[in-house]
Every structure is written in C-alpha cells, then in structure tokens.
Amino acid sequence: MDLFLNLVASGLVIGSVYGLIGMSFAIIFRTTGVLNFAQGEVMMLVAYTAWTLTHTLLFPFWLLVPSTIVLAALIGMAIERLFIRPMTGQPIFAIVMVTIGIAITLRSLTTLVWGHEFEGFSVPFSGGVVEIGPVFLLTEQLAVLILFMAVSAMTWAFFRFSRVGMAMRATSQDETAALLMGVDSRRMSSFAWAISAIVSGLAGVMVSVLFARAPDMWHFGLKSFPAAILGGLDSPIGAGFGGLIIGVIGELSAGYIWNGLKEISGLILIIVILMVRPYGLFGEKELERV
C-alpha cells in the first residue's frame, strides 16, 4: 500500500509537469487551431533563460519569478510574430510543419548558446523532505504540485471571467463573429502564445529544479502530448488533469508491470483512446463539409 501511495504521489508530481505543458498546448490550440510542436523547446528556452538569471546574474528568487514570466511572454510573442503570423491564411498543415521547424531551430539555438552540460537549478525552497503519512515528498516536488494547482485555477479563472480570456474563447468559437464584435483576433493569437509560453516556461523551471537544466528537456514536450489528447486539445483544464492521469498511470505501470512502460504507457493509452474516440476524450467532433 505504501508503495502504491508513493507511486501515485510521484506520478502526480511528474503528471503536474505534463499537465502544465499539456495546458499550454491546449491554450494555443484552442485559440488558433494550431498544435505547437515547439512547446517543449519553448519550455526549454525559458528554463535556460531563468537559469542564467539565477546563476549568472544572481537574481534573488522574488525577482526571478516575475522576470521569468515577463521573459516567457516576450519569447512566446516573438515566436508568434516572427514565424506564425506570416503564415496566416496558409493551411493548418503548413503552420504545424512550421512549428516543427521552430522546434528544431530553438533546440539547436539553445544548446549552441548554453552548451551540453547538465546544471543544477537551485531555489530557496529545494532540499527539504515533507512526510504526509507514508508518502515522502521533496519540498520541490510539493512545490510543483502547488504550482500546478495555482496555474490551473488561474487559467480557469482567466478563461472564465477576464475580458481577454472571453475574447479568446470567442475567437476560437467563431473568428468572424468575434472580429465583428471588435475582438482583434491577431492580438488574441499573440496573447495565446504568450500565455502558453508562460505556463510551459514555469513547468520548464520546475523540471530543471526537479532534475537538471539539461539539453534533452524538450522531450517533456513530446511526452505531454498524451496529456493534451486525453484531456482534449481544446480544453486547457482538461489537458492539465489529463497530465495528472498520464503521470500516475506511467508511474504505476512502471512500478507494477514493467519498467520500460514508464515512458510509453501514456502513448499506448492515447492510441487506444483515439481508436475509440478519434477526437480525444473530451474533444468536440467537428462536422466537415466538402
């Protein structure tokens, strides 16, 4: 039983990371209909920038958080402005291919600038151990869970109550109608990229605190696809909780069945789910006309 609870706990921790990245997939997909294959690389770039802020420029933690958020937003907006907006009006296929191009470009750029070394990322709250019943958690693992909860709540509130969030939902529902209501859909796309860069950037910082700031961090982007599919690509909150489920399933299957399943159980799960429901578990079926 203790093993089970510990596996679930570590599954929830890794699942929070998947969930945050899944959420950032969904934020862009929901507003613009584009699946951003470069999400893992955006996350990596933000994490590396934050690492430089802490370890080279010696920013204190209270300054690190807001400056990381601002930088992440700028990175997201810059990518959207440079690569995605010029593709407006092209088929979605072409735009998605562009994001694959962005992915490999950012990945190479990051390792070119920062090198191949693994580096630790120290934050004031790391290093302690928290004991909840039979479950042992490191303080930074607990921090990931708390961050996930906080970001989910804020994302939900943002889309539900804020003016911009409602405008973004309107754009995804009917772009023409939103335009007629005075919503600038290009700005919405820019916002979506910024917000999703912030969410995945925070996840990236937490990944580097949990493991290391490493040149293979972008793998987390690919590993989070199952989360986004499970929860529905058009629902950020669904994608977040999809991440938790994928994380727990991954840990449990690795602990009880076979260690090799840790990385792929989520992928097997989504293949099965997509066979039954081709538009994801919570995704909406689109009607097509010829």
Binding site: L35, P86, V98, I104, L112, F225, I229, Y279, V290
Partner: protein, 348 residues
C-alpha cells in the same frame, strides 16, 4: 512557334515523361552516377551512399505524407524496424543477406497495419501524434526487449555478402543503393500513374469527396501505409549494411524531422522532389561546414564546435523558409522556372 504543351491522348497523359529532352538528361544523369565511383574519393562516395539511402526513405515517406496526405511523424519507427530486422536476422539467425533485406520491408509493412488500422479514423494532427507515439513505442521496445534486440548494446552485422558482392566495400554498396533507388523510383512513379496513385491523390485533396467517388478509404489508406512503410523499411535495411553496427540512438525524433524536411524542401508529393530534398538536406551541413572553415580562425573554431547544433538550426530554418516562401519546394521553383522559360515572353 511553340504554344504550350498539348497532351492529346490518354497514354501520353500517363506516360512517365513525353519529352525526349527529359529522357536525354535522365540518361546523362544515370551515366554520371555510374561513373562517379571511378572519380571520387571515399568521402564523396560515403556522402553519395547516404544521399541514396535517404532518398529511398524520403520517397517512401513522400508516398504517404506528400501523395496521400497522411502526416506521419512515425516513419523513423519503421526505419528502425527495417534496420533491426535485417541486422538481427543476419547476426542472430544467420539468414542470408539476400533474404534478410527484403524482410526488412515486409516486416515494416506488416507493422504498418498495426498503426494504420487504428489510424483509419484519425486525421491530420491526431494522426501525426499517433504515428509519433508509435515510433516512440518501437524505439522503446528495441531498447528494452534485450533478449530479442540486444537492447542498448546494439547489433553488429558481420555477413554483408549479397549475391557474391561484398557490401562492406563502398563502391559495391554505392551501386547496390543506386540500383535500389532506381527500382523504388520506378515503382513509385508507376504506382502514381495508376488508379491506386490517383486514389491516393484524391484522398489527399478531399477524402470525403474521394469516398463519394467510390474510393474505398480503408483499402487505399492501408495500401498507402503499407507501401510507404515497405520502402522506408527497405531504406532501414540498407542502413544496416551502411553502418554494420546499429543502435537505437540512430533513430531519434530528429531523424523523423530531417526526413520531413527532405520532402518539404524537395516538394511534397513529388518523387523527384524527394530525391532532390534528400540530396539538399544531406549536403547542406557539409557545404556550410566548408563555408565555416573559410571564416577567420577565431570564428570558425567556435562554430565548428557547435557543428551539430548548426546543422539542426539550418534544417529548422530551411523548413520554415520553404513553407513561407515556396510551399511547393525546390521542385516548385524548378516548375516555375520551366514555365517561365517555355512561355516567355507571355510568362509572368
């Protein structure tokens, strides 16, 4: 005065090319390819072998993604499957290489049903993710199923003698790959001018309309998956002879992206485009490497250390720029030039 290219009969419409000039240059190209080993060193020959194998793989991927419109990010999985099939059959089961190589294509095609059948209901992005997931599952299997695949230790291939020719010799390997590429090219070109090929294009352009015209989506999508995977698996089998020591690390996501870059840069849906794209993507880092060598010593040292990153950077930028400036790729540029030339002075 020439007024255009008028096609007046059906056989002429579906012939591989109705232009004697094209045939002339093709024969010239083949002659140049055949005499190449006599004039080139080992380095150029090695590069040429890489291009030939990459072109076989790119043609396979293009048949699925370019011609049938099914975006697949998982063909590196089939490449790995083909490569390991050949390698393991020769190394562990002492199969003759003559049989082990075709098996690479057959196993990959059989595996493609495993991903093809679940993918029948999927479209676009969901299909891309499923195929990506599938290639992860294959590489994970290769890494962890140690009793069958040697896991992380890799496979060494000793017996490389095919029909009395030793493929460990670069010149023989070159001719062998050239032969396979010619066969695959002719095969795919001929598929594309039959009912099957037209059905593939119809599915790409509008699958619901294709179905209304009496095209069985299940059959043709699975055919496309199987044919494409067979060719990609064959390219994998060739890689086994090329490296003679194979390891899971070769088949990374980057490889899948490079393959995608080849067909995008060359021109989606075009066999010639896939070959040109393969040559372009393989040669690009080489030329840039040479160009970096010409820079002042201080800069070139810094850049040479990041050679792998610069290669990735270039591939990414090439994908982005091609899609932005010329979505039809290099073959599109060529077609535009040709049209401009043949219709001048009325061309725009």
């Amino acid at each position: 005065m020439r007024t255009g290219n008028h096609i007046e009969s059906y056989p002429r419409h579906i012939s591989l090319s109705d232009n004697p000039v094209v045939w002339f240059w093709l024969v010239a190209l083949m002659a140049a390819m055949i005499v190449l080993p006599a004039f080139s060193g080992l380095f150029v020959l090695g590069l040429a072998i890489r291009i030939l194998i990459a072109a076989v793989g790119a043609i396979g991927l293009n048949l699925l993604t370019g011609s049938t419109g099914q975006i697949s990010l998982g063909q590196s999985g089939f490449l790995a499957a083909g490569c390991y099939t050949t390698g393991l059959l020769i190394a562990d089961y002492n199969w003759p290489p003559e049989l082990a190589l075709p098996m690479s294509g057959i196993v990959a095609a059989a595996l493609s049903f495993l991903v093809g059948i679940p993918s029948l209901r999927l479209k676009g992005l969901y299909l891309a993710i499923t195929t990506l997931a599938f290639s992860f599952i294959i590489t994970q299997f290769l890494l962890f199923a140690e009793p069958i695949t040697h896991g992380p230790y890799g496979v060494r291939i000793e017996d490389t003698v095919l029909f009395g020719f030793d493929l460990a010799d670069p010149t023989t390997m070159y001719y062998f790959c050239l032969g396979i590429l010619v066969l695959v090219t002719l095969g795919v070109l001929n598929i594309m001018r039959t009912r099957v090929g037209r059905a593939f294009n119809a599915i790409r352009d509008q699958d619901i309309a294709a179905r209304a015209m009496g095209i069985n989506l299940t059959t043709y999508k699975l055919t496309a998956f199987a044919a494409s995977s067979f060719i990609v698996g064959l390219a994998g089998g060739l890689m086994a002879f090329q490296f003679r020591f194979i390891n899971v690390d070769i088949f990374s996501v980057t490889l899948a992206i490079e393959a995608l870059a080849m067909i995008i840069v060359g021109g989606l849906g075009s066999v010639a485009g896939a070959i040109i794209g393969a040559a372009f993507i393989i040669l690009l880092p080489e030329f840039v490497g040479d160009a970096i060598g010409l820079l002042p010593a201080g800069i070139s040292d810094v850049l040479a250390r990041g050679a792998l990153e610069i290669k990735g950077l270039l591939i990414g930028l090439v994908i982005i720029l091609t899609l932005r400036l010329e979505p039809d790729g290099l073959i599109g540029v060529w077609r535009n030039l040709k049209r401009y030339w043949s219709r001048w002075p009325l061309s725009v």
